[in-house]
Symmetry: C2
Subunit: 138 residues, 2 copies
Amino acid sequence: MTQFEMDPRFAQATTFIADWPVCRVLLAEDARYPWLQLLPRCGFVTELLDIPREQRLLLMEEIALACEAVKKIQPDCKLNIGTLGIIVPQMHIHVLGRTPGDPAWPGPVWGHQSEAMVYDEKTREFRVAIVRSLSPKG
Amino acid sequence: MTQFEMDPRFAQATTFIADWPVCRVLLAEDARYPWLQLLPRCGFVTELLDIPREQRLLLMEEIALACEAVKKIQPDCKLNIGTLGIIVPQMHIHVLGRTPGDPAWPGPVWGHQSEAMVYDEKTREFRVAIVRSLSPKG
C-alpha cells in the first residue's frame, strides 16, 4: 500500500468502520439507508482501472462482504452498488440497501435532493458492529 | 452456466455486442453516452451475492474490460459503474462514460428524465467494434 489520504469530505459525512486489506470502510451518515462506502487505499484512485488486477479481485470480495453486511442490517433490501466520482473524485464504492418507499425509491440515492437523517447513537453503533463482525479473507 | 434468459426490456433498449465468459455485453441505445451493460449469465441473478465467488472474480475482470472499452470510445470520460435493479430486477451492471456538460451531469444518468438519442448506424457500429476488439482472458 502506498500512502492513503482521505478527501476531508468523507470525514464530514461518514463514520469510520474499519480498514480492510484494500479498502477503508465507512458508514454514510444517513440513517435512512444501510449505506457503506468503500475507499480503495492503494494510493489516490479515481478509476477502477487505477487499481492493480490482484487488488481489484480482493476489492470484488470486499464489495461482496459489504453486500453481506448491508443484508445483515436490513435483510429484505435490494442492494445498490455504484461508483460515480463526479462530485468527490476520490474513488468510493457505495454499497447500500433500498426498500420500497424509501425517500429516493425507485430512483437512485445519488443526486437525490433530500436531507440525510441523523443517526441515533445506538443505531449507528449497531450497524458499525455488524460490519465489524465480518472480516475479509484477504 | 445454467440457462440464461434475458428480460425482454433489454432487447428493446440495447444492442447485443458479445457473450463474455460471465456476462452478456450490451450497448445501451443512447448515443449521448458510451454506455455498456453487463448481464451475468449464470442463471437468473438479481444480486451480486447470487454469483459464485469464482465467477464474481471473472466478473470483476469483465467490468474492468468494459471500463477499458468505454475509455477507448471516449478517452477523456469519467467512468460511472453501477447496478441498481429496482426498475429491471435482472442484474445488469452499467459501465458508462461521463463528460462535463452531458445531459445528466453532475447527477447520475440513472433516473435522469430525458430522451435517449438514437444512434446513427455508423457510430453504433464503431462502438460495438471497439468492444468486440477487446476480449476477456477468461
